[in-house]
């Protein structure tokens, strides 16, 4: 029931690797890490979700906020490597149409 966030920065590319669960308890932690990155001009933020085994609307909310903020600041937000389970939430809510999602993993583990 925890979330680990690892951050790697290279020039203007920032990578956050998440592992664990994104829910009402851990989403504020993610928001705190992610939002400041999106508030700078011309940055690329890549969020790696391969090791996220649970996510709900609280996580979707964080990514929606981060997307808005990154667009306002001419930065780019990308989500990569999520499982098909997690991707399904983006599909149901239609968010897969507005958020840049790459490399969805087929297996549901």
């Amino acid at each position: 029931m925890n979330l680990q966030i690892k951050q790697e920065d290279q020039d203007n590319i920032h990578e956050l690797s998440l592992s664990g669960e994104v829910d009402a308890f851990t989403a504020p932690q993610l928001r705190e890490k992610l939002m400041p990155l999106t508030e700078k001009e011309g940055e690329t933020i890549v969020v790696k979700l391969a090791n996220v085994n649970y996510m709900d609307s609280t996580g979707l909310g964080v990514f929606v906020g981060a997307l808005k903020s990154s667009k306002q600041n001419n930065s780019t937000l990308k989500l990569t490597g999520m499982t098909s389970r997690v991707h399904r939430l983006f599909e149901i809510t239609g968010l897969d149409e507005v958020i840049d999602i790459e490399d969805v993993k087929g297996g549901s583990v």
Binding site: M1, E21, D23, A24, F25, Y54, D56, S57, T58, L60, G61, S84, R85, H87, R88, L89, E91, I92, T93, V104, K105, G106, G107, S108
Partner: protein
Amino acid sequence: MTMTSDFVEMKIPAEPEYVGVVRLTVSGIANRMGYSYDDIEDIKIAVSEACTNAVNHAYPEEEVGQVTVGFGVYEDRLEVMVLDRGKSFNFEEIQGKLGPVNSEKSIEQLNEGGLGLFLIESLMDKVEISGEDGVVVMMTKFLHRDGVEVDASKVSSSPQQ
């Protein structure tokens, strides 16, 4: 129609760190009942959403209330009730009071958790909300023991691309 059922009830402090505890509990119950992996994940999300709404919106900041979660375990379905008042509830009495989701009042009440409510409706087979005395969300997932998925639009475990 058989009325045989087991009932499990738990009360949690209205704090976000306890939503995961409810999730583990419902996962255990659904697993024991024989739901598929995908169904269990759907139930976990729907129940978490209802608890998150209750935790975030039911009580003013300075007051830590309680959220009551009831699990009705039937032969053919799991019914989960999430009540954002700390008191115990009479399962059958509340069942009688519930109306359909699209009554305007209840949507308005849960407005801030709108995405969550939308997910609950998408992931469960039946959802009812009552706002008379606190908010009660009652959701049902049917158990299909024959292994045939009723909803063909579900994501399969194989890659799509």
